[in-house]
Amino acid sequence: MPTSAIPPISQYAKYNNKVIKNRARSESDFVRYSLIAVTLLFLSLFLFIPLAAVFTEGLRKGTDAYFAALSEPDAISAMRLTLIAAGISLPLNMVFGVAAAWAIAKFEFKGKSLLITLIDLPFAVSPVIAGLIYVLIFGLQGWLGDWLSGHEFKVMFAIPGIVLATTFVTFPFVARELIPLMQAQGKEEEEAALVLGASGWQMFWRVTLPNIKWGLLYGVILSNARAMGEFGAVSVVSGHIRGLTNTLPLHVEILYNEYNYAAAFAVASILAFLALVTLALKTYVEWQVEQSAASIENEIKE
């Protein structure tokens, strides 16, 4: 089911080592090389050239200006806020993801497919609307606006609002990873643990969690990328107060709108680097899952 671009990690557990060298299934060299060339041209126009541009533009005024842009107080405070937002929303969604996947994968109940669709909802909602709905509740004219201002507790244009918006946009990631994984694993191992006398939590920590660790990690990597990079939703609830409620992507926007391009791209390059780290980690986890699937396959053969 939808709606993340990334298919669940469980897909990589299928061990396949197909080598396609078959005349009935291959094209002439000319067709093959042309198709590869067109693909690489397309990907260059949209991926490789823009990636190179981020770093080139960031370093345009030299490395001194580059590091100055990264170490100014507003940039540091934006980094701190980005880490806080991700640091709070990720554990929340992790606990939710494990609970939801446990209920959905291991038990039968009515309305299960509706529940799975509802968990997906945040992926279908525009980031701008994700911010808007929290303004309607916590904003000054919102449902809780009077009560909140009476208690001098700020949600909008403050850190709690940013955390909430980040939690909303990263809501489905961990659950979406774990549901298919835990469904595929079945429940024999947990049942065996219980029959052998384990308590519920012992079973969870020693059987369930080790079994889902790669799926969980994969979900966290994807959520983290989205959490640190979220722009639309956070932009609605943040109020853009420099040094206070700016996350890194908002800081990039402010610098860019002030025509301070070199500094904007310098900060952007940090985020682009983070994206590359995300891809590397993601590929590593996929490789791990493929490897363990392959070794199980080999054991069965022997």
């Binding site: 949209f46 701008v128 994807l222 639309g232 932009s235 609605v236 992507p249």
Partner: protein
Amino acid sequence: MAKINVQNKTNNILPGFGLSLGYTLLYLSLIVLIPLSAAFIKTTELSFHEFWTAISAPRVVASYKLTFSASLIAALINAMFGLLTAWVLTRYRFFGKKFVDAFVDFPFALPTAVAGITLSAVYSTNGWIGHLLDPLGIKVAYTPLGVVVALTFIGLPFVVRTVQPVLEDLSAEVEEAASSLGANRWQTFHKIILPAIWPALLTGFSLAFARAIGEYGSVIFIAGNMPMVSEITPLIIITKLEQYDYAGATAVAVVMLVISFILLFAINGFQWWSNKRFGHVK
């Protein structure tokens, strides 16, 4: 499978069903369902006439047209090149293939604001690609074409990642059979492979389309944001919010939400069809 399910219902000894389902429903309601319902409840403050005026103002209608047409074009580009990319990645070997494969997810991992400023730098008239297009009379940045470029970037991984697994699992026998019965490669592709991957392609296309409609961060930097010309619907919502027109912003948001939900259900349908079709081929 059916047998196991029957067993599940009668004697499931696993603990924690009440706790996990209860927590799931509580958290889902607090973070997603109640806030989303706020949007629908807010619009009830408007009379139907006010609601209609808010969502059918010429500037808003122009933004729908741009958002939908640009998203549609971007999703079509992604369907075509995404299929090609998935094909090249599953069928051929070439230097750097693993790297290219991992890199397809770059638009997903890159923050949208970074994508926005980078694409507008690359595609502006003095940018790396923009200066090559300028002599041909093609201006990308700060025009509706820029919106298409940003949305193509954002939607790039979807078609590749939905079509790729289906292509990988396509059984060799059907293609060999087609070949031994005298079909050439194009006929095999057109008559055998394409029907098998069609549901996955449609799923990827709708995912890219749905994502493009809601996209904000990458578009606003490259679009130029001229009212009636290059202003997308999410930006209309932001503008109304900045003018403290909460009811008007919410009315437009509700229109987008309804469209997104319809797409979500359509995508679920395609996916179900894809699994069924795919299972059948296998």
